[in-house]
């Protein structure tokens, strides 16, 4: 069968071709002007979903990286604080060592006591350090000062400026003290330890009579205290302070012994003073233990920091990979696209040229 061609068929075919070429041309032009192969999910459904997923993952990585940064900073702050407390603890231990050898006179011991009080105050200040407005050693009680110094009372129940205890107000060690941030899908890293675990406490309260106001006095007419807890460096500091002030009292008693005191009385007080020095001496091991306890806590911080550093590296690697992956899908190969663009431009021009020359051709030209 010999095919028949009609002018309208040729016209519509030619117009169709021109439109196809123009579409190609326009599509490439859009890609070139945006620099992206895929500009809308309609361009490539499957790959678009990949891009969306990868972008989402990138968003998560950004959050995790920021969290790791914030964790690292807080841990650094905590670690620095604990090191400073360790220095103070070491100093207190040195003071205890020299006090225990019995060579210091009363005045020396009094100045030691003053230095110790300053040490206690600054250790408490350090344990009350805050980061970003939150107390770092209070567990989840982030808005309550974790440590407060307890002062003694006189026989009438009025407060004195004598330090008798250091109380911990944060979350208990067996409580829910963890403050965590997400560093990977469903993985939370803890950034804190409780002050209790690092420094312990020494909670001391005066004993009152039934009315709750009048203190119960001992045989010498001094107020009595109960110690509810004693642990860590805080316990050691208070123990040392108590032993020191006992020693000073005994030395005072020795000084105040009447001229006519019997040898037995002298010996008795000498023995008591000796016992005081022994008890100070007995505290030295406690200081060592407390410092070891802080070192252990600090090395935990170190472990976490190392882990976080590794996570950071892993995250930045996967971030790079993801970015590369997205770029591979979405970004345009400019060189290829430009050459395609020129080709499609030529095709478009060619189709228009052939169309005009074919459409203008007819027998009319020869009549």
């Amino acid at each position: 069968m010999i095919g028949r061609v009609s002018s309208s068929a040729i016209n519509s075919t030619l117009v169709g071709h021109i439109q196809n070429n123009y579409l190609d041309f326009a599509k490439l032009t859009e890609q070139l002007s945006t620099g992206k192969k895929i500009n809308s999910i309609l361009d490539d459904t499957l790959q678009s979903v990949n891009i969306i997923n990868s972008n989402r993952q990138l968003g998560k990585i950004d959050i995790w990286s920021a969290n790791i940064g914030s964790l690292t900073n807080e841990i650094k702050q905590s670690s620095e604080t604990i090191e400073l407390v360790m220095e103070k603890g070491q100093r207190a231990k040195d003071l205890a060592t020299s006090a225990a050898n019995g060579t210091s006179n009363k005045d020396n011991l009094i100045s030691t006591l003053t230095e110790l009080d300053n040490i206690i105050k600054s250790v408490v200040d350090m344990a009350n350090t805050s980061y970003n407005g939150n107390y770092i050693y209070g567990g989840t009680n982030t808005k309550t000062q974790p440590y407060s110094i307890q002062y003694g009372i006189d026989a009438d129940g009025n407060p004195t400026d004598e330090i008798i205890g250091i109380k911990y107000n944060g979350t208990a060690i067996d409580g829910d003290w963890k403050r965590q941030l997400e560093i990977a899908d469903g993985v939370f890293e803890t950034c804190n330890v409780t002050g209790m675990a690092a420094f312990g406490e020494c909670d001391v309260e005066p004993v009152y009579q039934a009315d709750g106001v009048t203190p119960v006095l001992d045989a010498d007419g001094n107020p009595t205290y109960t110690e509810n807890s004693n642990s860590g460096i805080m316990g050691d500091l208070i123990d040392f302070r108590n032993a020191l002030s006992d020693t000073i009292k005994k030395l005072e008693e020795q000084e105040n012994l009447p001229e006519n005191a019997t040898q037995a009385e002298k010996d008795a007080i000498g023995a008591e003073i000796k016992a005081c020095y022994d008890s100070i001496n007995g505290l030295l091991d406690g200081f060592d233990d407390s410092i070891t306890q802080m070192t252990t806590v600090n090395s935990k911080f170190g472990t976490v920091t190392n882990k976080l550093e590794m996570s950071t590296e892993a995250l930045s690697t996967s971030k790079l990979n993801l970015e590369e992956y997205i770029s591979g899908i979405q970004d345009l190969d400019i060189t290829e696209a430009i050459s395609q663009w020129y080709t499609s431009q030529t095709a478009y021009q060619a189709s228009m040229q052939t169309a005009t020359s074919i459409m203008s051709m007819s027998l009319l030209n020869y009549m």
Binding site: S6, I63, S70, G138, N141, G175, E182
Partner: protein, 530 residues
């Protein structure tokens, strides 16, 4: 022996025939660009007389009496048949569905920042910030803001989808929305075409009473049939006399020259009322219901599912009906997402053991009083069902100090420490909803995460658009190639016409010369006697 007048007559006849032929050529050229016009061809035949010839050579000569036009026929092709019109119907159907599918996909175009993804991401990022500083007013307020941005976006997505739906089938209630919708427009156009076809039928019936065809009317009829097939899948039967009868699923639409049925459309609400009045079970899911009004006064109340293809079928399918990924399923997926997000977070927020912050004269402490009233998400319209279009954030959080009402802390077994304001166990539970989807709250979305479920929606919507566009493109090229074949076979070709013109012109000139010669011969005879 033939007379000279006979030769004169033959050539005079030939002059007339060729002149008529030229007029057909002229008509062809005039209509070269007319849509639906088929090339017409003059069929010439020898004039014959039935007289005995026997051995009489004169009689034999006398029997040649010239040329006549037997008929004028139009070029037709089998391609122009019902197959072509079915393809047109499919094409309109696919194109309509592809258009709507791509409109829907456009609503979720994440690559152009249009979907829900960014808002979900920001929401979780705000939660994360909250876990860093649970007592900080700024992080609390920014979490509340991100939650309300999320709900706003869900409202917006839902309203955009509904807008697309309204444009196509109205909102199901308001008559004016329905009148503005595409379905009404299509139905009106269809009715107009049916009227036109009935008129053409009438003209054909009164014109084609003999054996000859009225080519121009038949062209018009075919063009109308093609137009009508764009709207739906009609059964046509062409009669002897050239008229065409039309049925839709067995219901007579046009019979001969009369319109038997007309299409109309009502809102879902009106249909619901109709169903109640007539005790019919209402299975309609579409905002618009197409129905038939017969000219005998009876009606067929719902023929939505009778439009298998065509533009009307496409509109109806893309908006409701049996199609898996129509706009209704997308809307209900979005509603499910909204209600699941709301339920999951509300449950964590108000669970037993959860605590929020309370500012007691400057001291911040934990509290759980009235916790059950502090659900994060609720509805705008006070309804019990949270959907994408009514989800909003509980107004309590926007009040002064409301930001403190987000329950950040959680204590199991009543181990409450009212000072543990830095406890973020409840936020961790919220953050974990990203990955841990085993809780019963996630049952409604198949125990996958919000992101995955939302991915499913995007994937479905985009691949549906892709699929429909591909179908439409394929169908376009089928129709285009059919169109081309039809144009090739029935269209007017200028060169053909010009050569015909030269042919008939030459024949005309030659006949004129013969006429002149005969005339000269006659004159010679007349002057013989002078």
């Amino acid at each position: 022996m033939s007379s000279l007048f006979s030769a004169l007559n033959i050539s005079a006849g030939a002059l007339q025939v060729n002149q008529s032929a030229i007029s057909i050529v002229s008509n062809n050229i005039a209509n070269i660009n007319t849509e639906g016009y088929s090339k017409q061809k003059v069929n010439l035949g020898t004039l014959v007389i039935n007289s005995p010839i026997s051995n009489n050579v004169d009689a034999q000569v006398d029997s040649s009496i010239g040329v006549e036009i037997v008929s004028v026929s139009r070029y037709t092709t089998t391609f122009l048949g019902s197959y072509y019109r079915n393809q047109i119907s499919e094409q309109a159907n696919y194109n309509e569905q592809a258009q709507i599918a791509s409109d829907i996909a456009g609503v979720f175009d994440e690559l152009q920042g249009k979907g829900l993804d960014k808002e979900l991401e920001d929401f979780y990022a705000a939660l994360d910030n909250l876990s860093k500083s649970p007592t900080d007013k700024t992080t609390r307020i920014s979490f509340i803001d991100s939650a309300s941005t999320l709900t706003d976006k869900m409202n917006k997505l839902s309203s955009k989808l509904n807008e697309i739906k309204n444009q196509n089938v109205g909102d199901g209630i308001s008559q004016s929305e329905l009148n503005k919708s595409k379905i009404t427009q299509s139905i009106n156009e269809l009715n107009q075409k049916i009227e036109d076809l009935a008129k053409i039928n009438q003209m054909i019936a009164s014109s084609q009473t003999g054996t000859l065809e009225n080519n121009n009317l038949l062209d018009k009829r075919d063009l109308l049939l093609k137009d009508i097939s764009k709207y739906g899948n009609f059964e046509e039967s062409i009669q002897e006399n050239g008229t065409v009868n039309l049925k839709l699923d067995g219901t007579q639409i046009i019979y001969g020259t009369t319109i038997k049925s007309k299409f109309n459309v009502k809102t879902a609400a009106q249909y619901d009322e109709y169903c109640q009045q007539n005790g019919i079970e209402n299975k309609n899911e579409c905002n618009a219901v197409v129905y038939i009004e017969k000219n005998d006064g009876s009606t067929i109340p719902n023929i939505n599912n009778k439009f298998e293809s065509g533009e009307i079928g496409g509109i109806l399918k893309a908006n409701t009906g049996s199609e898996d990924k129509n706009i209704n399923t997308v809307l209900s997926d979005l509603d499910t997402l909204a209600s699941t997000i709301a339920n999951v977070f509300n449950e964590i927020q108000t669970q037993k053991g959860a605590y929020y912050l309370e500012n007691n004269n400057g001291t911040i402490q934990l509290s759980n009083a009235n916790l059950e009233n502090y659900e994060i998400f609720t509805t705008k319209d006070g309804s019990d069902t949270i959907k994408a279009d009514n989800i909003t954030i509980n107004s309590i959080f926007k009040e002064d100090d409301g930001y403190n009402k987000i329950a950040t802390a959680y204590f199991p077994d009543n181990q409450i420490d009212y000072n543990a304001v830095g406890n973020i166990n409840n936020i961790i539970s919220m953050i974990n909803t990203k990955n841990d989807t085993t809780t019963s709250g996630f049952d409604s979305i198949g125990n996958i995460s919000f992101n995955e479920y939302y991915n499913g929606i995007i994937g479905k919507v985009a691949s549906n658009s892709d699929y429909k566009t591909n179908l439409a493109t394929a169908q376009d090229s089928i129709v285009a190639s059919l169109d081309n074949k039809i144009k090739e076979q029935t269209g007017v070709d200028l060169n053909e016409e010009l050569s015909d013109m030269v042919k008939f012109q030459t024949a005309f000139s030659a006949s004129a010369r013969v006429f002149e010669t005969c005339n000269n011969m006659l004159e010679t005879l007349v002057h013989l006697g002078e």
